[in-house]
Amino acid sequence: MKIDKNTINKIARLSRIKLDDKESEDYIKDLNSILDWVEQLNEVNTENVEPLSNISSSILPKREDVSNDTNSSEEILENAPDKLEGFFAVPKVVE
């Protein structure tokens, strides 16, 4: 797989990052070299090998269904740039 200008623009848009031409070129180079490096793994024969999803043998820890009854409003909104009557206020989102 090769990263080209279109791909880098798409990734940038999906990530909401604005790139100028110079930055795009740099990222194309960087990402391609990362991909090339990872692609060496293709040399290993992985037929009939289940993908490894984690290296520990631990199992997913679970919690009981108990709710805490603290009112989080003040703490949660503390860093909000803009708020109104307990809501976060953000620039208008149409849909």
């Binding site: 997913l60 269904d65 307990g86 809501f87 953000v90 208008k92």
Partner: protein
């Protein structure tokens, strides 16, 4: 059955599939301990995990997992011992993480099916593709301020079960019946409260049209419908829209649509150039979810009687029709009420059909009129049972029983009390009825003449007069019989 809809030029068939989002009925959220209570003040139930503060880690709610398995069993579906949580990435103001934790490749529940029952006694299976667990997003309010959107994160992180059907649905009615059936199963299982108004149950509808026998057409998805009425309206509108485009030589563009509940129209969402690219990948914060056979068996054994089992039991025990039985079992509160009523007196078991009618037509219409719910019906099952027994033993007529029920409804008295107080017992004494009829005949010689001359319709007049004299209490069958006898004797 003809499910086709007529266009200007051709007949068309709708192909519909539903994605239902059902909120798990739990105390706390899927990956945090915040409360799930509906209607609390904004942002009061948001933990640092729900707000996606740096360094916070999700810990799964064991109970939510069990409810998903339970629901899977209720949908006759395969439970997967191994499932994986993935990140579904997108940017939106009410999604602080920038991704939703969901399940993509390995859902917790696989293929299943549910059955819907039609009025004509037939039924149809709708296949389920999968059920997976995921987080809900926060709530955005767009209409409070001209330049701002307000965000409330109380719902952020609440556990949802997404139930995906195969495109087996062919009409808006079938879509309505399907979601009603899912709702009914969820409520019997008690895994979701089924409250569509509060958004605990909502659906995305995928719909395309085709000429019968053709391949599937290109589909559009209508997002976030929260009532059965809207689902049907949206499907009807969208199908017509697609047919008009196709018949005028155009083609359907695959699109995500929004339904406007006040105009009844669908329109495409904007930003379509950003065709969604969710970049799913396994969430590195969560290990795969493994459920042992023993755990699944344990959950299976805790499952209550489901609507279909109960329906078959009612058909067998009480000889009810498939449709009557499915109406009774659609909601748990209805089948509970029926069970209590019919078991309140041994005599009633032989009058099951009458019991069904009194619950589903008379009592339901009173509840509707008064905007009340069966759960807090002023008429208890025992009292309704008593009323029906008075009818079945001929103590009062069905007509009078309707008035008695209304009285019971408003006064809270028992049927017995009302009948005794008002002296409503049916007159079944042959002599007494005969006496009244004699009176009516004596008072209306002209009518008698006309009747005997062949004006049969006048029988109703005599019945009416006699009923009036007995204040509606004469046994109608006896009244009719004696009346005919007496009139014919005159001949």
């Amino acid at each position: 059955m003809n499910n086709l809809i007529k266009g200007e030029k051709y007949d068309w068939e709708m192909v519909i599939g539903l994605e239902i989002h059902a909120q798990v009925k739990s105390n706390s959220k899927l990956f945090s301990s915040s409360s799930t209570k509906f209607g609390s003040s904004p942002n009061s139930q948001v933990s640092l995990v729900d707000a996606a503060m740096p360094g916070m880690l999700p810990v799964i709610n064991k109970y939510c997992v069990e409810q998903a398995v339970k629901t899977g069993v209720g949908l006759n579906a395969k439970i997967n011992n191994y499932s994986v949580f993935d990140r579904k990435n997108y940017f939106y103001a009410d999604l602080p993480q920038g991704y939703q934790i969901s399940q993509y490749k390995y859902p917790i529940v696989g293929e299943g099916k549910v059955t819907i029952d039609f009025k004509d006694g037939t039924s149809k299976d709708i296949r389920i593709v999968r059920l997976h667990l995921e987080q809900d997003a926060g709530k955005s309010l767009h209409d409070q301020n001209p330049s701002k959107t307000y965000v409330d994160l109380n719902r952020s992180g609440v556990a949802l079960m997404e139930i995906v059907s195969e495109p087996d649905i062919r009409t808006p009615d079938e879509a309505g019946m399907y979601i009603s059936k899912i709702r009914s199963i969820l409520m019997y299982l008690d895994t979701c409260d089924g409250n569509m108004q509060e958004g605990s149950l909502r659906a995305d509808v995928n719909i395309s049209v085709r000429k019968p026998g053709d391949e599937y057409g290109t589909r559009c998805e209508i997002k976030n419908l929260n009532s059965i009425k809207f689902i049907k309206q949206a499907i009807n509108y969208e199908a017509k829209r697609q047919i008009e485009i196709l018949e005028s030589g155009g083609s359907i563009e695959q699109n995500t649509m929004l339904f406007n509940t006040s105009t009844g129209k669908t329109r495409p969402m904007r930003n379509k150039e950003e065709a969604h690219d969710y970049r799913y990948f396994p969430d590195p914060d969560l290990l795969p979810l493994e459920i042992s056979k023993e755990e699944i068996e344990k959950i299976k054994s805790s499952i209550p009687e489901l609507p279909d089992e109960l329906k078959n039991k009612f058909i067998e025990t009480y000889k009810l029709s498939n449709y009557d039985a499915s109406v009774l079992t659609a909601e748990k509160q209805t089948s509970d009420y029926f069970n209590k009523t019919i078991n309140s007196d041994p005599e009633l078991k032989n009058h099951a059909k009458i019991v069904v009618n009194w619950i589903t037509s008379e009592l339901f219409s009173l509840l509707n009129k008064n905007n009340q719910d069966l759960n807090n019906s002023p008429v208890s099952p025992e009292n309704l049972g008593q009323l029906i027994k008075l009818i079945s033993t001929n103590e009062i007529s069905g007509k009078i029983a309707k008035d008695v029920l209304e009285d019971m409804f408003s006064s809270g008295k028992t049927a017995r009390q009302i009948v005794d107080e008002k002296g409503l017992q049916q007159v079944t004494d042959h002599g007494e009825i005969a006496k009244v009829i004699d009176e009516v005949i004596a008072e209306n010689p002209k009518m008698v003449e006309q009747y005997l001359a062949g004006k049969d319709k006048l029988l109703g007049f005599f019945v009416g007069q006699a009923m009036k004299l007995t204040k509606g209490k004469a046994n109608p069958k006896m009244l009719n019989d004696i009346l005919k006898q007496k009139l014919n004797k005159k001949n």
